[in-house]
């Protein structure tokens, strides 16, 4: 049994090196383009999460032109099934493969083991290997900025938050938003609806309507479509875009958006594959690194809110402001961070508790 597995592994390895051969020959290297593969969880047309990763892919093509050849597989279901899609890109001769959703973590590691000569990059995961690096963005920094605006501009003092799944990244966002809003208005409350989906435009819109019915006049979301913004526009309340500038969908309601920008990271990492300096690692970049950006403010954003939001952005870039600074208590009153203490990445990446003011 063992020998069979070994042989199978060997065959996989041989296949991979055969695919890679044209790239290894020094002479061929000049002509053969470097294969760069992407696995997307949603459709490229979602105008949200997957769309921003695809913008990164397009930026790669623009940067390197004929030197690379990119390909992608969209709408790949998370979980074990994803292994097939990843393997397909690996066998197609790609040298580096970006898998862009949390649920692709185990399949990425699994396929990477079978293709030791290829490089893999997994977005938002925590498992690494010699040929698997991870990367993520500090979206919570952007949440702190929009939370500040919400705190200034909400009349009812209640924001609605359409959340996908209670994973640390989402919990972190809810907390950062609420903390920032409560710095402005200590009575601020955030009502959370778990949509149990990343992408269902009609449900996202209905969730926004339910939150507005219950008195929220600020809508923010951690789901991928612009539907919630449209519902906010229709009902005359304010909202924030997610992943990309969604102003076109809701010109009046859209105050600003947290914009993901992966292009800089992709360009850097592909360059490293080209010159052979690629190493595994873990990158968690924020506003300072240009991975998280704030879209232009709507004219409706008041001067006071604008100034306060800019202040938060500047503080984060300068390193003088951390959205999670103690004293920080959770909903039950347990002290999670002592006065003056700043949250470390360890605490953030395992966050499973809510700050006061969150109704989830």
């Amino acid at each position: 049994m063992t020998s069979i597995i070994t042989r199978r592994r060997f065959n996989f390895g041989a296949g991979a090196s055969a695919a890679a051969l044209p790239l290894l020959g020094a002479g061929a290297r000049a002509q053969a383009p470097l294969g760069v593969g992407f696995i997307y969880v949603g459709p490229v047309g979602d105008h949200g999460w997957t769309w921003t990763h695809d913008q990164g892919r397009l930026a790669l093509e623009k940067e390197y032109g004929a030197k690379i050849k990119t390909s992608f597989i969209e709408n790949v279901a998370e979980g074990p099934d994803a292994a097939r899609a990843i393997r397909q890109l690996a066998q197609a001769g790609n040298q580096i493969i970006f898998t862009t959703s949390f649920g692709f973590m185990n399949p990425t590691i699994q396929v990477a083991r079978q293709f030791p000569n290829l490089k893999f990059e997994h977005a938002t995961g925590y498992q690494r290997a010699d040929n698997v690096a991870t990367y993520n963005a500090r979206f919570y920094e952007g949440r702190a900025v929009i939370g500040t605006i919400a705190g200034h501009m909400s009349k009812s003092g209640q924001a609605g938050y359409i959340a996908s799944f209670p994973i640390p990244e989402v919990v972190m966002g809810i907390n950062a938003f609420t903390l920032a809003a409560r710095k402005v208005n200590p009575n601020f409350r955030t009502k959370v609806i778990w949509a149990s989906t990343w992408y269902d435009p009609a449900k996202e819109a209905d969730a926004a309507k339910a939150l507005i019915d219950q008195g929220c006049d600020m809508i923010t979301q951690h789901t991928d479509s612009a539907a919630a913004l449209q519902a906010a526009e229709q009902r005359g309340v304010f909202a924030f875009g997610q992943a990309s500038d969604m102003k076109a969908f809701a010109p009046k309601a859209h105050l600003t958006a947290i914009v993901d920008d992966w292009s800089g990271y992709y360009i850097k990492r592909v360059k490293e594959v080209m010159d052979g300096s690629w190493k595994t690692g873990d990158v968690w970049g924020g506003i300072k690194d240009g991975m998280v950006k704030i879209a232009p403010y709507n004219d409706a954003v008041t001067p006071a809110a604008r100034a306060a939001a800019d202040e938060v952005t500047k503080g984060i870039v300068a390193g003088t402001l951390h959205p999670f600074t103690g004293e920080l208590k959770d909903q039950k009153g347990t002290v999670r961070l002592k006065a003056g203490e700043k949250a470390g990445d360890e605490l953030l990446s395992k966050m499973d508790w809510y700050v006061d003011g969150v109704q989830a």
Partner: protein, 307 residues
């Protein structure tokens, strides 16, 4: 809770139910003629993208609705030719139609991502729906009223008219219907076309009224709910209306409960309630003595060739 909020919840409920109701009603007629078309989701998506494309290009949501129905019919005809004229397996063809619809709508819609149009508005003047209670009656868009009229129309057609009787005969016993001279294949073509038109209209309700935009897989699986709803309703239009609004109510109230801060119920539990309701109703129906075989048309899913 004020009247305004209750009415607002009701409006959301009706809007959420309407596309499912339309698609399910079309499928009901198709199945009554003995054809099982599992491609509802694909037809809905083709309707959604065609409706949006035409509404965006012409600026007219009405033209968009017409185009959506045409696109639904066109997609349904692919299914009809394969299953009726070439006697392909209906289940496999229907599944293929869904996959085709997802791909085709994505391809056609690629140029429309990120564009918006004016939402399909209420049909009556705003003055009529200033009071919340009046809004509950007069505040809807044209598709909502049309869907209610269609339920009544289909119900009367199937129960009270001769063509309706013939359509049911074709679904119950195609060989006999053929023997006494009815054009089984032609009637099934018509039923599939009707199903496609309503699925297309239901799909367009997403891209023109609920979320006036085009995004891939906009319907997010509602076509499958519509299919389940036909069984849930035991192939009866009146019960279909009830079922669609029940589904809409559960979907809407789930979100309202979360927004109102009912936290003792797990969100995962609330999310599965519509499906629990389906299982409960199916179980009750199966236990009923008279509807032991769920009232399904006898020839449902069976290919027919006049030889």
């Amino acid at each position: 809770m004020t009247t305004a909020i209750l009415v607002s919840i009701l409006m959301t409920l009706v809007a959420a139910s309407t596309p499912i109701l339309l698609a399910a009603l079309g499928e009901l007629v198709t199945e009554k003629a003995g054809v099982l078309n599992l491609g509802v989701e694909g037809m809905m998506l083709c309707g959604a993208v065609a409706g949006f494309a035409v509404a965006f290009s012409t600026g007219s949501t009405m033209l968009g609705l017409v185009a959506a129905m045409a696109a639904g019919v066109a997609t349904a005809m692919v299914f009809a030719v394969l299953t009726l004229s070439l006697t392909a397996n209906q289940v496999a063809t229907g599944l293929a139609l869904t996959i085709f619809g997802i791909g085709a709508s994505s391809l056609i819609g690629a140029g429309f991502v990120g564009r918006t149009i004016t939402r399909l508005g209420p049909v009556f003047p705003a003055a009529l729906s200033e009071h919340p209670l009046l809004r509950a009656v007069f505040g809807h868009d044209i598709v909502v009223y049309l869907s209610l009229a269609l339920v009544l129309g289909v119900s009367l057609f199937l129960r009270r008219t001769r063509p309706g009787l013939i359509l049911r005969a074709v679904g119950e016993n195609d060989a006999s219907a053929h023997a006494i001279g009815y054009p089984v294949i032609a009637i099934r073509y018509a039923a599939i076309a009707f199903g496609g038109a309503l699925a297309g209209l239901g799909g367009a309700y997403f891209s023109l009224a609920l979320t006036p935009m085009w995004a891939d897989r906009l319907t997010a699986g509602r076509g499958w709910i519509a299919l389940a709803l036909v069984v849930f309703a035991a192939w009866k239009p009146g019960r279909l209306l009830l079922g669609a609004y029940l589904f809409g109510a559960v979907m809407t109230l789930e979100l309202q409960a979360k927004a109102a801060g009912i936290t003792w119920l797990a969100p995962e539990f609330l999310a599965m309630t519509p499906y629990l309701a389906t299982i409960a109703v199916l179980t009750m129906m199966s236990l009923g003595r008279r509807s032991g075989r769920l009232n399904a048309p006898a020839c449902l899913g069976k290919p027919f060739s006049a030889s």
